[in-house]
């Protein structure tokens, strides 16, 4: 190991907030961090396949410009100098945005996403577009067009999706954080499977202007990073009203980092007595129960909660996401059916067969179901805790529908059984690492809050990480130097 490699490893081991704070103190430059990130990708991404495109020269120029700005004494943003890479579905004017698809293989948008503008205004730079499920529509990490993304804890295993490259790149410590998107678990699942932290905000909390749509009722933008504190910093930057997205909430954005006090005294953590733990893998159940002891030691009270309306949530949620996904792609399904992966065209096809009255019924029930759920559940507790995945992480082969693997459709659908309901309900939910399964693949703890309760969700997640080391444990790929 030479000096340069040692430096790369040291810099890549910094969390997002550590890196940003080190830049602010003048201890490290943006160019140093950017060179280290590219060195890590060079060493670690060969088999991982987390990257679809990258721009080394332009990124180093951008980093040098950020260093020059700092040297000039200009005011700095909270992410100044930090190189990031994002799921390849966030529009940047003139920059490639494949959406993980063949159909958009050469797509260069004419405008930029609000979240990208905000991240750049806060001082970060974007050095790569990360692998993802084609049009964000699988939870396994398969991609026919750019190659499957792999799990940094075991190449044979699903990295989770649809933000597969975001989970893998952060889990391999190539970048400190990445945006993902979450329509049925696509931030929380790769966060869980790749041993990192992630948060899906409340529906409408973050602007979706310039973000590839999948299901406009259930799509959310959020970060994957090493720690809850890192997620808090990014969410503080990207959340809030956007005149370009009239569906985005005008609710004030609190200081999420200030909420991370570690003090859980008086806080009630609800543990569902139905749905989320039914038939769970033993190691998942054991890891989950151990998390409760940690939260209890921090002062939280653990209470059992019965969740209402879960059948209705599962039924109506499936209808909404299927119909909206099919609607968004109907034109291409007519004109370019052969350019989709088999499993994707197959999945969307089902949505075309659902009657409009059924879809409208599913939407019309949503508000009432949320009110019932929130009243009964959050009347009894402050946050819910569940495993992010109910069962151990499958291998890519086990969930490979396109290969004709027996049982793959079931494996494919089961991955997101504990995350999908939260999207229909529109609630904020985080996933933080809390153990390893029998195959050495991470297990995630899901924390769910009331609408606009991100601060409390992050507070509980951060308190858990204050007393555990799962988020500090390096994946095998992150140890490659």
């Amino acid at each position: 190991m030479n000096i340069a490699t040692q430096t790369m490893s040291t810099l890549c081991d910094l969390t997002l907030t550590e890196a940003a704070d080190a830049v602010a103190r003048g201890e490290v430059s943006s160019v140093d961090l950017t060179e280290a990130a590219f060195a890590a990708f060079d060493l670690r991404d060969d088999k991982l396949n987390a990257v679809i495109w990258s721009e080394r020269e332009a990124s180093l120029e951008a980093a040098a410009a950020l260093d020059a700005k700092q040297a000039s004494g200009a005011a700095l943003g909270p992410l100044h100098g930090v190189p990031l890479a994002h799921k390849d579905m966030y529009y940047q004017e003139g920059r490639l945005t494949t959406c993980g698809s063949k159909i958009r293989a050469d797509f260069r948008p004419a405008y930029s996403a609000t979240v990208m503008d905000r991240l750049h205004a806060a001082g970060s730079l974007t050095l790569a577009g990360l692998n993802m499920a084609e049009f964000a529509q699988n939870a396994s990490g398969h991609n026919t067009h750019y190659g499957d993304c792999h799990n940094p804890w075991g190449y044979d295993y699903c990295p989770g999706g649809s933000s597969s490259g975001s989970g893998a790149a952060v889990g391999a410590r190539c970048v400190t954080a990445a945006l993902g998107s979450d329509t049925g678990g696509s931030i929380r699942l790769p966060a869980s499977m790749c041993g990192v932290s992630g948060i899906k905000p409340t529906q409408t909390r973050v602007s979706r202007y310039g973000v590839m749509p999948l299901s406009f009722s259930c799509d959310n933008v959020g970060p994957l990073a090493r720690t809850a504190k890192d997620c808090a910093r990014i969410l503080s930057v990207i959340a809030g009203a956007d005149p370009m997205d009239p569906t985005c909430a005008t609710e004030p954005v609190p200081d999420y980092e200030a909420a991370l006090t570690g003090d859980l005294r008086g806080l009630k953590v609800g543990v569902p007595d139905n749905y989320f733990l039914e038939d769970a893998s033993p190691e998942v159940g054991d890891a989950f129960m151990a998390t409760l002891e940690v939260l209890k030691a921090r002062g939280a009270e653990i209470v059992s909660v019965s969740l209402p309306e879960m059948d209705a949530v599962a039924t109506y949620g499936a209808i909404v996401s299927r119909c909206e996904g099919a609607s968004a792609h109907a034109q291409w399904m007519r004109e370019r059916p052969g350019d989709y992966a088999l499993h994707l065209s197959g999945r969307m096809y089902g949505g075309l067969g659902i009657p409009a009255v059924t879809y409208i019924e599913a939407l019309s029930r949503r508000g009432g179901i949320l009110k019932t759920f929130a009243s009964e559940v959050f009347g009894a507790c402050d946050v819910l805790a569940t495993p992010t995945l109910r069962w151990r992480t499958p291998t890519l082969a086990e969930a490979d529908i396109d290969a004709g693997t027996e049982g793959a459709v079931a494996a494919f659908m089961e991955i997101s059984i504990n995350t999908r309901p939260i999207n229909y309900l529109g609630l904020p939910a985080a996933s933080v690492p809390c153990g390893l399964d029998n195959n050495g693949i991470p297990i995630g703890l899901q924390i769910i809050g009331r609408p606009f309760g991100e601060a409390k969700v992050l507070k509980v997640s951060d308190a858990f990480q204050a007393d555990t080391d799962w988020h500090k444990t390096k994946s095998p790929v992150a140890r490659i130097i």
Binding site: A312, G346, K371
Partner: protein
């Protein structure tokens, strides 16, 4: 999924959206919708259509976090 249901999906997709069955996986991936249909039938009669103006956004506001 029964053959009848597969045929129904194929007819609806072709008639209303001009999209033919893309591949046999389409039938496989529509399979879980049988559970959705069963679930939907169970909901019928349990919840009435909301007559008054309402929205999901209003529900988010009505149930939002107010503490720290």
């Amino acid at each position: 999924m029964s053959d009848d249901l597969a045929k129904l999906f194929e007819d609806v997709a072709r008639t209303w959206s001009s999209v033919p069955l893309p591949n046999p996986v389409g039938v496989q991936m529509a399979l879980p919708l049988q559970d959705t249909i069963t679930g939907l039938a169970a909901e019928h009669g349990r919840m009435a259509f909301e007559e008054e103006p309402s929205s999901f956004d209003a529900a988010l506001q009505a149930t939002k976090e107010t503490g720290s």
